[in-house]
């Protein structure tokens, strides 16, 4: 990380950033010059030619053909330069190197899932090796999303029933924000993630590591953030979209149909895999059903984690 970016642009973290930044600033400075020229002309004319007498009739100004031709031709040349430059770098954005490392991305309300070539999966955190081109092949299981990493200057919509792709080559180790930029509902602004750029050795070690050796509650804590449970359920008692997990285990809970139950292991598991079965009174029936695919290890871990939140 280190650099904090410029006044206009965020830090730069990929091989694509410097080229795009030059183009941004080239267009920006031309715009500044034109803007200042127009504004100064407006102000100077408004003062210099202000009405001095209510019955002033100003002289006719004959059109200056040279000037008029110039202000059509010069902007045309400028925009054609900018267009050509933009066109060339756009092709670069859409031409991933043949040796790019490929990761599958699945977007759903409101989290990012990643699957690596060796079958390893991860949620939220996208771990990638430094100095190596990475290509993401993305699809969505529900509505439109858009994958945006400001530091890498890349963005691509993620569409259901279709694959889209984006590539980048990270230039420095560190952590960068992933943001969803296509409006996708209640927690659109909570659909965040991180790109974690690691050295080749660290990345390989991470890729081979498993979760088998973690304690269930520890693994549950990892899932709680990785799976974005924290977007809707707090562990400190704060009211978010869904009920807090603080003190949930063993609590007498009332549902919208008037029934009540004590929250035990079975209730918690049912609420994760089949969230519409019982809706807690006072909360909307808004939890996604995507968690029904959790395996028993993951469910055990989450139950263990929730039991600890007292």
């Amino acid at each position: 990380m280190g650099d904090k970016g410029t006044f206009w642009l965020p830090e730069s973290g990929s091989t694509l950033s410097p080229g795009l930044d030059s183009l941004f600033y080239f267009t920006y400075w031309i715009s500044v010059v034109i803007f200042v020229a127009v504004t100064v002309a407006v102000i100077v004319f408004a003062i210099k030619y202000r009405r001095r007498n209510d019955s002033d009739i100003p002289p006719i100004v004959h059109e200056n053909k040279l000037l008029e031709t110039a202000w059509i031709v010069v902007p045309t040349i400028l925009v054609l330069i900018v267009f050509t430059w933009g066109f060339r770098s756009f092709l670069k954005l859409h031409s991933p190197p043949a040796n790019a490392y490929e990761i599958q991305v699945t977007a759903k309300q409101w989290l990012w899932d990643y699957t690596y070539p060796n079958g390893k999966t991860s949620t939220g955190d996208l771990v990638v090796p430094v100095d190596r081109p990475v290509r993401l092949v993305m699809t969505s299981t529900d509505v439109l999303h858009s994958f945006f990493v400001p530091a890498f200057r890349v963005k691509q919509d993620v569409v259901p029933n279709r694959y889209s792709s984006v590539w980048f080559e990270a230039t420095g180790q560190g952590e960068y924000h992933i943001l969803c930029t296509e409006y996708c509902g209640t927690q659109h602004s909570g659909m965040l993630g991180s790109v974690i750029v690691q050295s080749a050795e660290d990345f390989d070690a991470w890729l081979q590591s498993g979760v088998e050796d973690m304690a269930p509650a520890e693994y549950g804590a990892l899932l709680y953030t990785q799976q974005n449970c924290n977007v809707c359920h707090s562990v400190d008692g704060t009211r978010l979209v869904g009920p807090t997990l603080l003190g949930l285990f063993g609590r007498q809970t009332t549902f919208t149909d008037g029934t009540t139950a004590v929250a035990d292991e079975n209730y918690i598991m049912e609420s994760i895999v089949n969230p519409m079965a019982k809706i807690v009174e006072g909360y909307p029936p808004g939890m996604p059903t995507i968690y029904s695919s959790f395996d028993s290890d993951q469910l055990n871990a989450l139950v263990a984690f929730i039991k600890e939140q007292q």
Binding site: L20, V38, V79, G86, V154, D157, H177, Y183, H188
Partner: protein
């Protein structure tokens, strides 16, 4: 309106004109059943003002929520509904009808020397269709708690069920109002111009309304068809846009922008017309490049249909189409840029008076230039990839739509207010409000450019800590802007009680609504058909405006400032 109004005549005598379009029939029925284009214009003005007020208050609520990180005053779902309702109401119920239907209805027929539009009853029908469509749309949004944003992107919007059916029907109905008004205006401008008012002598406001009407007639059916397809998909379960049924969500975006990009021209072209009239009048100069300004508006009306894909550079459309759309966007952008230079050139060696309408025109020049230049930045393919769907885009379109259209509409409203109401507003209050609006606007939206290019996505209920300072400044600006707008509105409304009586031509303009009608105008506009012998900004041919001998002799009501207004 009991006092009499006087008008100068060719011979210099004054005759009283006690009857005007406001006082000749004061019954409620006289308004609801009226076919007078001036009254219909005022009814549109009242209706769109209510929409602007409501949608503006929603914007303030949205900005207040964003003042600090996390929850400030509302939860995420309410926030999403508020920004959706703000966008839908501002675009469809305020900006699109604001200038053409309100000011265009009032001013355009008088500017061409006609008694009314070509089809007065159709004009009234358009108004009621608009009201019905508007009421249905707002009801649908409120009942259905619609939170899709104003773009209704599928498949998110497909999941909402019945309320979307209701809303699509409402948009379908309201569309007819736009089509019929456009048709009415095209026929009026072709067939009802006064003798001598050739195409080369049309005020530029009329040219811009003409170009806008072409877009309304050609583009609006597309949104109608899209709404029918959405309706059929929901009702008959055939897959068009929804991937769950085998449809393609990107197809919806193509359809939506095929209408909504031309709709941007429906919103901005009339503003160009007002600005041309204001700068010409308050500089007392012929608008430089008159023919270019007039004809490029009409050209844009057609070419504007070829650039919709520039909204979709990251949507997954093919790279080749993105490149073509980017190139076309630039080629269409140039004439618009040249217009700005023409307006600045009009001021050169003019006689410039900084009255309230001119202050709005100068605000427009500065704000629209920023809006246009940032549009060029967004049109650069690879730069757009970074800026797309961030606050940079939000700031850009507010600079164009609010800094452009709304500022022009305010300038036009202040300019024609004496003609509409017969009253002068308080000039000092008007000027302070105009300056306050300019400052508040820039504080609100310029900060959004910075946070946008730094990566703040739009439509976010919550945000990362580094953006908080920008959001705070922006929210403070929005309150300044609101104060300015309320001051402007207050000044106009107060003129009903406190305003001085307006003379028939307080700005010494040369177009027919000023030279040939009283303030407010007669129910039939003119006592006899005016004959036009000069262009709309030919001050050197109009010495009679300043009480000197000469001129074209066709002027009935020109009068010097000192002319007594009451007998």
């Amino acid at each position: 309106m009991s006092a009499t109004q006087t008008v100068g005549t060719e011979s210099g005598r004054s005759v009283s004109a006690p009857v005007n379009y406001l006082n000749h029939d004061k019954s409620i029925k006289g308004w609801l059943y009226t076919v007078d284009h001036k009254r219909i214009g005022l009814m549109y003005l009242a209706t769109v003002s209510i929409a602007f007020l409501v949608a503006g208050l929603l914007a303030l609520a949205v900005r207040t929520e964003l003042f600090s990180q996390g929850r400030t005053i509302m939860d995420a779902d309410t926030y999403n509904q508020f920004f959706s309702l703000h966008g839908i109401m501002m675009v469809f119920l305020f900006i699109i009808p604001s200038i053409p239907a309100a000011l265009g209805n009032f001013v355009m027929p008088i500017q061409i020397g006609a008694k009314d539009v070509a089809f007065p009853r159709l004009n009234l029908a358009s108004y009621y269709i608009f009201v019905i469509g508007g009421v249905l749309a707002v009801t649908g949004i409120l009942v259905g708690q619609i939170d899709t944003g104003w773009t209704f992107y599928t498949p998110y919007s497909s999941r909402l069920g019945a309320p979307v059916l209701f809303l699509t029907s409402a948009v379908f109905i309201a569309g007819f109002s736009s089509i019929l008004t456009g048709l009415n205006f095209i026929v009026t401008i072709h067939k009802m111009r006064a003798p001598g008012l050739t195409w080369n002598r049309l005020p530029l406001f009329v040219w811009s309304i003409y170009a806008t009407s072409i877009v309304q007639v050609l583009a609006t059916p597309v949104i109608g068809i899209t709404m029918v397809l959405l309706f059929m998909e929901k009702a008959l379960q055939i897959g068009i846009f929804d991937p769950a049924l085998g449809g393609d969500p990107v197809l919806f975006q193509h359809f939506f922008w095929f209408y909504s990009h031309p709709a941007v021209y429906i919103m901005i072209l009339p503003a160009f017309g007002i600005i041309s009239d204001l700068i010409g009048t308050f500089s007392r100069h012929e608008v430089q490049g008159y023919k270019f300004v007039a004809l490029s508006s009409v050209a844009i009306a057609f070419l504007g249909f070829l650039v919709w894909g520039h909204h979709m550079f990251v949507s997954g459309q093919s790279v080749v189409s993105s490149i073509i759309f980017s190139l076309l966007t630039y080629l269409i952008g140039i004439p618009t840029g040249v217009k700005v230079l023409n307006w600045v050139g009009t001021m050169y060696k003019g006689s410039i008076s900084l009255q309230t309408p001119m202050l709005y025109a100068l605000s427009f020049l500065i704000l629209f230039t920023i809006g246009g230049l940032t549009g060029v930045m967004l049109g650069v393919l690879s730069v757009d990839v970074h800026l797309h769907d961030t606050y940079f885009v939000v700031a850009h379109f507010h600079y164009v739509m609010m800094g452009g259209t709304v500022i022009a509409a305010l300038g036009g409203l202040h300019y024609w207010w004496p003609k509409m109401t017969g009253k002068m507003y308080n000039e000092t209050n008007g000027r302070i409000a105009a300056v306050l609006i300019f400052i508040g606007f820039n504080v609100t939206f310029f900060t959004q450019f910075i946070m946008g290019s730094k990566g703040m996505p739009r439509r976010y209920y919550d945000y990362l800590p580094e953006f908080e300072i920008y959001h705070m400044i922006s929210t403070i600006g929005s309150f300044l802007l609101a104060i300015g707008l309320f001051m402007a509105a207050g000044g106009l409304i107060a003129s009903f009680w406190r305003g001085k009586k307006a003379t028939s031509n307080p700005w010494k303009s040369l177009t027919l609504e000023w030279t040939h009608t009283t303030s407010p105008p007669d129910p039939h506009n003119f006592h006899h058909t005016p004959i036009v012998t000069r262009g709309p900004y030919d001050y050197h041919l109009a010495p009679e405006i300043f009480g000197e001998p000469g001129g074209d002799g066709a002027v009935v009501s020109a009068q010097p400032d000192t002319d007594p207004v009451q007998q």
